[in-house]
Subunit: 248 residues, 2 copies
DNA sequence: CGGTCATTTGAAGGACCTCAAGCTTAGTGG
DNA sequence: CCACTAAGCTTGAGGTCCTTCAAATGACCG
């Protein structure tokens, strides 16, 4: 949660990394990014990146690592809203609404690209392409949360788990954390249960059932999808957007 | 679902109405809006404004009326993601991601302001203030969905209902559909149950219980909050953002 | 006044929760 | 190398919340 070593190198990877994956930044943008970026930050697993109450002046992009957005009731019941992967923007709500209503916590050792949030307005004024990308990411994030809401509201535990596994696999894949129907699982069953909206005990039983049916296996921090079409069938899975920013 | 009578009058109310509530549009923006707006559209209760599969070339703002965003599984189980009120933007996902993954349906007779979605990019290029407002609205919408996800995932039926009632009251209030702890309820118990993620039968029983405990009353299309602090207590309610766009 | 739709109520079953204990694993220090 | 600990995982038993099915009641409308 510290280690704010600034480095001006490879900045072009970060501001909206999705974009640089699909389209190289132009000169203006590169110039801008180097002005806008404050530095990099690496945090350990379990550390808080953004806290609900706090008003940090920062906005982040994940360069490497997993994190998760979550929100709790006063009595401690916690709901994981979504997981965050490289390229994802953290703290946009804070920058735009000047209020965060959720917390972001690192799941693995995570490297972030740090920006000044008070410069967001100047992005809109001077770099419409970047602004558009930010909005693109916000819209995409909302689309994912919509999907989770449908899942939590209308699927049973077994179906929810199937859906979440597929979702995580797909996201891990684009981040490079997956391969061959297998992906890293740097989380505990408790994290899963907080994402699924069920108890750890029931999550455990549901996982067991899913392994018993040879749909997945989970050994040593890795989850393998054994029967993709079987999983899709129980989840009533419908593929999400392909993650590609449209050409404008 | 038709009646596309164009009218150039009072356009300044619509493009991002929130904004015009808090700050008058400047000359540039007014000029822009009149170029950008296609017309107005009024739809009857129950009609579909935006359909998941469809690629309408339109983007809407609600001028008057209630609508709701929802999403279903293939077998028909439906989840209401959020309700939409005057000032809300509909179809931003379609415009930005070129893909809608939910449907929007009118709850009351609803009047919409219609825009061409392919002009969104020109907003970003030429009217950064409007672009910023659009992003503001997207961020706010996501914040609301986050709140619902916490609710559905971690509150029980009684608590969910309490939360939803307060939420709807607060939103109806800014839209002018509420007054004196009372608000319009242009929906059925089935809508409520789809928003809460529970069955109609259980929704009915939960409503009964809530009326029995003198927390609310529901008569002739109007819901009255009888005990606000009692409701807040059961919901563990925490106020949302004040809906005011920050000055930039 | 019949028909349709929303609401209401009952009874029974099942999904998920709670509580509680035992287990496994990895890390720590003697 | 072996306690010892702590955190996570596993399993059982019982209870509760919510669902399902089914039928009755009420409200509205032509």
């Amino acid at each position: 949660m510290s280690d704010d070593r600034a480095s001006q190198t490879e900045c072009h990877r970060c501001p909206l990394r999705k974009q640089s994956i699909f389209r190289p930044l132009d000169e203006n943008e590169l110039n801008f990014v180097s002005r806008f970026k404050t530095g990099e930050l690496t945090v350990d697993p379990g550390s808080t990146i953004l806290l609900e109450e706090n008003k940090t002046p920062h906005l982040y992009t994940i360069l490497d690592g997993w994190a998760f957005r979550h929100k709790s009731l006063v009595d401690g019941r916690r709901q994981i809203l979504n997981f965050a992967f490289p390229g994802d923007l953290l703290g946009l709500q804070l920058a735009i609404l000047s209020e965060m209503q959720h917390t972001v916590t690192a799941l693995t050792r995570t490297t972030l690209c740090v920006f000044q949030r008070d410069k967001v307005w100047s992005i809109f004024k001077e770099y419409p392409t970047l602004a558009y990308s930010m909005t693109w990411m916000a819209a995409r994030e909302e689309q994912m949360v919509d999907g989770h809401l449908l899942s939590i509201g209308r699927r049973n535990a077994f179906e929810r788990l199937a859906y979440l596994i597929i979702h995580l696999y797909e996201r891990a894949k684009v981040a490079g954390y997956a391969g061959n129907q297998t992906f890293d699982a740097p989380f505990t069953q408790e994290h899963l249960s907080d994402a699924l909206g069920i108890t750890p005990v029931h999550t455990n039983r549901t996982l067991k059932k899913m392994q018993m049916r040879k749909l997945i296996s989970w050994r040593s921090e890795r989850i393998q999808i054994l029967d993709r079409s079987g999983l899709e069938a129980v989840a009533a899975y419908e593929p999400e957007g392909d993650g590609q920013r449209p050409l404008i």
